[in-house]
């Protein structure tokens, strides 16, 4: 997919979302540029995951616009009809959920989980789909011999990697990551970080990653947004936010990290 580097891949303007009286997202605006990994950090309940779901079209905003670059032009997502949005979600985007069971179909095989998106992209030849699925299992370091096994028989780390393979098989432009390494033990985390880094640099994809792990944010993201109570309280280059945080809450967040 050809990208115009002169305009943002994604532009979010004055986004609002409330659940009853709770402001989950209040007046959120930012841009994501092609090839960038944007990290969103903040404590639980700060609105990070809601924001991610709003942008990815999994939730509808109360107010505000989201635009996305397609064929070198910005289109307004909030104007798209349901089928057009679904098509975008299945072809040009990926969404990696915190819990693999939310992003995988647990009652079909690993191969079918990867193949599903290919079929949505008009792949019809069974042999080709199977071959591609095997290739991606290898890419995420799962033994291709497990292709016919159900995800349920996989460990948590393997399920998470299968979810990544399922999302990346169609070469998306934009991937949403919700706590991609949360709940995994550290050796698996490192494997996953290495994998994500390789995919970002080799496939040129852009990503928005919600995480509460500042070390993960440091290693993967170019820029950081800090959220608190539904608002962006600070943003900047990752090293700026982590080494010279300006807002009181960002300072607290950074100074609370345990040293190993």
């Amino acid at each position: 997919m050809k990208m115009n580097p002169g305009i943002p891949l994604l532009k979010v303007e004055n986004l609002h979302k409330a659940f009853g009286k709770t402001k989950a997202c209040h007046d959120i605006s930012f841009e994501l540029w092609p090839g960038e990994v944007l990290g969103i950090v903040g404590e639980s309940g700060s609105g990070k995951s809601t924001l991610l779901r709003l942008i990815a079209g999994l939730l509808e905003p109360d107010k505000g616009t989201i635009s996305y670059q397609q064929n070198s032009k910005l289109i307004t997502l909030t104007d798209l009809d349901e089928p057009a949005l679904r098509h975008l979600q299945r072809t040009e985007w990926g969404f990696v959920h915190q819990h693999p069971s939310d992003g995988l179909r647990m009652n079909v095989s690993a191969g079918a989980n990867i193949g599903e998106r290919l079929m949505a992209n008009n792949w019809r030849h069974y042999g080709n789909i199977r071959e591609k699925a095997q290739h991606w299992l290898k890419a995420v370091e799962i033994d291709p011999a497990r292709i016919d096994d159900l995800p349920r028989t996989f460990s948590g780390g393997m399920q998470q990697r299968l979810q990544i393979a399922r999302n990346l098989v169609t070469n998306p432009n934009l991937v949403f990551l919700d706590e991609p390494t949360g709940g995994l033990d550290v050796s698996v985390q490192a494997k996953l970080l290495d994998l994500l880094r390789g995919l970002v640099s080799n496939l040129g994809l852009s990503a928005i990653m919600v995480t509460h792990d500042l070390a993960v944010a440091r290693l993967l993201s170019t820029r950081l947004i800090v959220m608190k109570q539904g608002e962006i309280i600070e943003h900047g280059l990752t090293d700026q936010v982590l080494e010279d945080p300006q807002a009181a809450y960002s300072q607290l967040l950074v100074s609370s990290v345990l040293q190993v």
Binding site: D194, S201, R218, R223, L237, Q240, D244, A247, A248, Q251
Partner: protein, 234 residues
């Protein structure tokens, strides 16, 4: 020679909100220039703000007052007002920073870490890998370590991997934070010779070199940082 970096009356304060709003004034009205083909060495005891100044030049520390002008050839960038995109662009093409510590993703092999720096700057994967091997050999990192992650290496080895990474794609402005601090004499000479080579090829260099012999070897212009420190009773 052309002025590559101009620091004008730069001050940096930290406001520590979590510690009753204490204000630390770590740099006070710093002014200095670095020209192409020149090495400027920041001098003074620890805590005087040497590393902080390097971080301000790299854009990690946001500037409280004053300005920092970077000459990128075609245009000048005022760092105090630069956007994140401009700073990312500067780091890709104009400014390189060699910190004292190596920060890498676990499991990534040393050779890839070094080669990636050149690939990011536009080299082909093959060129970058060949250069990475040559640099690692020059810096005496044993061949059997090249395919391992540097996170298990000794401090001195990690420092040399960091230097190899910087040397694989040097920028017109290079910042060095004690590049020889944990090196044995032989490796120290190699690294200093590499830095002198950068200078000769026209790189503008700002660095911290604790050892006076190193500064003499590099023929560095010394800038005493003590004068930019906050007065004790201010």
């Amino acid at each position: 020679m052309q002025e590559r970096l101009k620091i004008k009356n730069l001050s940096k304060n930290f406001v520590l909100h979590t510690q009753n709003g204490a204000i630390l004034n770590i740099l006070n009205n710093v002014s200095l220039e670095v020209r192409d083909g020149e090495i400027v060495a920041l001098c003074g005891p620890s805590g005087v703000g040497k590393s902080s100044l390097l971080k301000a030049v790299f854009g990690t520390y946001r500037i409280s007052q004053g300005d920092l002008v970077i000459n990128c050839g075609a245009k000048e960038i005022h760092l105090a007002k630069a956007s994140p995109a401009e700073i990312i662009e500067l780091r890709k093409h104009t400014i390189g920073y060699v910190s004292q510590f190596l920060r890498v993703i676990p499991r990534v092999p040393t050779i890839e870490i070094v080669a990636n720096a050149a690939i990011e700057a536009g080299a082909s994967s093959q060129q970058a890998t060949e250069k990475a091997v040559a640099l690692l050999e020059q810096l005496r990192i044993p061949k059997k370590l090249h395919t391992l992650s540097p996170l298990t290496f000794s401090g001195g080895e990690q420092q040399r991997v960091n230097i190899a990474r910087a040397m694989s794609a040097p920028r017109p402005i290079m910042l060095f934070d004690e590049p020889t601090a944990s090196l044995d004499p032989e490796n120290k000479t190699t690294v200093l010779t590499m830095i002198a080579g950068l200078k000769k090829s026209g790189t503008a260099i700002l660095g911290i070199f604790h050892d006076r012999n190193d500064r003499e070897f590099l023929n560095a212009r010394e800038v005493e940082m003590e004068k930019y420190k906050e007065p004790e009773n201010a």
